[in-house]
């Protein structure tokens, strides 16, 4: 009995110590994402994107000879889970920095804790306006909703030339901030907002909104949402005989949207940060690498998590020393070509980059245009 126990405990000891031995010389980065529950699809895509970036960095020699290592926790997209996990990552796993592959609420709660502990934190795709306001240690590599909303107004009013617009707004921080940005600039581009309808993230049935929107006779529809709400919505709009252009945002940006909406997805245009037809090598490596690793085509959340890791790796390599303050300085001064374009930050830690415009053509996301108007796209600076 004791013999069995001894050999067992030896096996356990070996099993536990092996990973540590392998990563003795590694730099740890905390990663929180919703891996179970309602947001698991996005969370897992983000995780694969981040893991891909880590593999790429490590196979290129790591950071000054050290390997990059992700410590991944599931936060179920809930602030209640993400806050204690952030404490755990910082105080027990001793991560050098953190990356959020999660939604707004969870990211906002964790940001407070990273800021308080003076550990740098990058939000990959959460849109909540207050995330970077947690303090100078918190950054974001994706657009805030307002910026994308403004880009949407320019796209519809100026580039496409539609003046009568119906808005269908998702009732959450994402939809609301998009709507704010869109309304702010709509007038400048000569857009008249005929009506605005709101729906909840749980809705998949839009019969009433579709009927009413049809009677408004708009020139275009600006609808915020995610692929799982936008897919059914676009399908139902087309089924009711509404043929006008539908303009969406990065929430649509997944192959799954095209799968749900089917042929009705053709011609849908979105503002996003991933350009499928980019000539840039980093983006192309990401697109092919992701599909090979995940088994399905890349999406916005994966590209965003990938970008966040690359920005972090670049900063780790450039940091003057191993202190958190030096790492923060390095992130703030970033100028990195990543899978979602050329990344740099403003004083608040918000990203400055071009808005990519993609269109569904023959069942795939393709390049439509790019907006690089820095004045229009200026993120909030305080």
């Amino acid at each position: 009995m004791t013999k069995i126990f001894k050999s067992l405990s030896f096996a356990v000891f070996m099993a536990l110590s092996l990973p540590f031995a392998a990563f003795a010389d590694s730099i740890k980065i905390g990663f929180n994402a919703p891996l179970t529950g309602f947001a698991a699809a996005d969370g897992n895509s983000a995780r694969v994107g981040a893991e891909l970036a880590v593999e790429q960095v490590n196979s290129a020699g790591g950071i000054g000879g050290k390997q990059l290592e992700l410590v991944i926790y599931d936060d179920q997209a809930s602030p209640k889970e993400s806050a204690p996990l952030a404490v755990k990552l910082i105080t027990q796993d001793n991560v050098a920095a953190g990356i959020s592959g999660s939604y707004s609420g969870a990211t906002r709660a964790a940001a407070t804790i990273y800021q308080e502990s003076n550990v740098p934190y990058i939000s990959a795709y959460a849109v909540h306006p207050d995330i970077t306001r947690a303090g100078d240690y918190v950054f974001r590599t994706s657009f805030v909703g307002e910026v994308q909303g403004r880009a949407g107004a320019k796209l519809i009013g100026e580039m496409m030339g539609h003046k009568r617009v119906v808005m269908i707004t998702l009732n959450n921080d994402f939809g609301k901030s998009l709507a704010n940005g869109f309304k702010e600039k709509a007038g400048d581009f000569g857009i008249e907002i005929v009506n605005e309808y709101e729906y909840s993230i749980k809705d998949r049935e839009f019969g009433a909104i579709v009927s009413k929107a049809k009677s408004d006779e708009p020139g275009a529809i600006y609808a915020s949402g995610y692929f799982f709400t936008a897919g059914p919505l676009v399908r139902q709009l087309r089924a009711a005989g509404i043929e006008v252009p539908v303009i969406g945002q990065e929430g649509y940006d997944s192959q799954k949207f095209i799968e749900i909406a089917g042929p009705d997805a053709e011609g849908v245009i979105i503002t996003t940060s991933l350009d499928r037809d980019s000539a840039d090598a980093v983006t192309q490596d990401f697109i092919s690498g992701f599909e090979a690793k995940a088994g399905y085509p890349s999406d916005m959340v994966a590209a965003s998590a990938h970008t966040a890791v690359l920005v972090m790796a670049d900063a780790l390599a450039r940091a003057a020393d191993e202190s958190a303050a030096a790492l923060r300085e390095a992130i703030a001064g970033a100028s990195v070509m990543a899978s979602t374009g050329q990344i740099s930050f403003n004083a608040l830690g918000e990203v400055q980059k071009d808005v990519q415009i993609q269109i569904v053509k023959d069942g795939n996301w393709r390049h439509y245009a790019v907006i690089s108007d820095t004045e229009l796209l200026a993120p909030p600076a305080e």
Partner: protein, 281 residues
């Protein structure tokens, strides 16, 4: 240390929150599927006040009062509808709360409230405050259980009509249970807001109401110790279960199901049975 402090704080808040529902559902037999609304009211009130520079221990008082006042309204509703009708009415109150908060720009709307200040002495200070509130509420629960009030609650829980024939003022005691229970939830909510330091409408939805009800039932309806243990375990289960990765929520759901299926009296019942077996030996 700070991680342990954070976990203990989560536990204390959950225990307080669960015991506050236990008072309504466990002691007085009034099922509530919308208890998170009062948690939310407390959280919003306390957060607004501390952002206006009030100290949290003081801000918890109006948080409790506000939650208790709305609790009276629901209590009045409970006089009109009974049993499953009441359960669904309270569920409606929960949805109404979230639906209204979403649209109030003064409460941050969809964006919620962030930048909630930390309390004096930081995380240990908050833990201490949470522990004090929790212990006080446990003592209150024990006191009620042992007093005439506890007897009145229990008789209402058993059979309202019989209680009435005993001359118990059913309406008065029901309202009292709702006031005390919802006020307790308000305090728990105020503590929660300063623990996570970010609140939004989605934090106080139906799922939260169900979670707290599960704590009460899994602990053993009415049992103070059982409910406290269940609250502590269920609140931190997702944190402990990080290693099972993909199966976390599956295990969480299955555990709740299996406990109910094979030990319907909950943790309190299991302990009780084990104790009796030992006595018999």
């Amino acid at each position: 240390m700070s991680y342990e402090i954070a976990v203990l704080t989560s536990m204390s808040i959950a225990i307080l929150f669960a015991l506050s529902l236990n008072l309504i559902t466990g002691f007085c037999g009034q099922v509530s599927l919308g208890h998170a609304a009062f948690y939310g009211i407390g959280a919003y009130v306390a957060a607004m006040l501390t952002k206006a520079d009030l100290a949290l221990p003081i801000a918890l008082i109006p948080a409790a009062v506000m939650a208790g006042l709305v609790g009276v309204l629901v209590g009045i509703a409970s006089l009109r509808v009974r049993h499953d009708f009441l359960a669904i009415t309270t569920m409606g109150v929960g949805f109404l709360f979230v639906g209204i908060v979403r649209k109030q720009d003064a409460l941050g709307g969809e964006i919620g409230i962030s930048g909630i200040p930390s309390v004096a002495f930081g995380r240990p200070g908050l833990l201490l405050l949470a522990l004090v509130c929790m212990v006080l509420f446990i003592l209150l629960s024990i006191y009620i259980r042992r007093s005439w009030l506890g007897f009145a609650f229990e008789s209402i829980s058993d059979d309202e009509d019989t209680a009435r024939t005993f001359g118990i003022d059913v309406s008065k005691f029901k309202l009292l249970a709702f006031v005390v229970g919802t006020a307790g939830a308000g305090i728990a909510g105020g503590l929660y807001a300063h623990h996570i330091r970010f609140i939004g409408p989605d934090s106080f939805g139906f799922v939260e109401s169900i979670t707290v009800l599960a704590m009460v039932i899994v602990g053993g309806i009415g049992s103070i110790a059982g409910v406290a243990v269940a609250a502590a375990v269920l609140a931190t289960l997702p944190l402990w279960l990080q290693f099972v990765d993909d199966y976390k929520l599956l295990i969480y759901g299955s555990l709740i199901f299996i406990t109910m299926r094979f030990a319907p009296t909950g943790i309190a019942g299991i302990v009780h049975t084990l104790w009796q077996k030992r006595q018999a030996k």
